[in-house]
């Protein structure tokens, strides 16, 4: 089954990449209030069980080091 993982910088963290996009868009005349940039991972898992998939993905994130809990937060999306 396919699982999406959205990894974004935590709200309290200054996101320099997002700030750069925001300033660039504003300089080009687009109207926006803010922008934050994160990562998106699409995993194809062997299992078809959603509960097992959720547990596996959380383990990958936490033990496999796919995200940094100090500065990032994640969200799992089933696709």
């Amino acid at each position: 089954m396919k699982v999406g993982i959205k990894i974004m910088p935590r709200d309290v963290i200054l996101d320099t990449q997002g700030r750069a996009v925001e300033n660039s868009m504003k300089a080009n005349g687009f109207e926006l209030q803010s922008c934050r940039v994160g990562k998106f991972l699409e995993l194809s898992l062997v299992t078809a069980d959603q509960i097992k998939a959720q547990a596996d993905v959380e383990k990958m994130l936490k033990q496999g080091g796919l995200y940094n809990p100090l500065i990032e937060k994640f969200e799992i999306q089933f696709m």
Copy 2:
């Protein structure tokens, strides 16, 4: 309003970053078939109109250079 933009490498493009994550996860004993890594942008727009937001975001992507159509595809998510 908040809009999410998922930017992923096109399916035909070799995603070296995704391949690296895939191999690393496999080496750590996780079961997965494949992994692709992309970007996720969260924009806060001034407008509250969904149709205008969609048009604005597409313009930012195409004219503002937020994505490379040769190697990437995008998906707009309203949050």
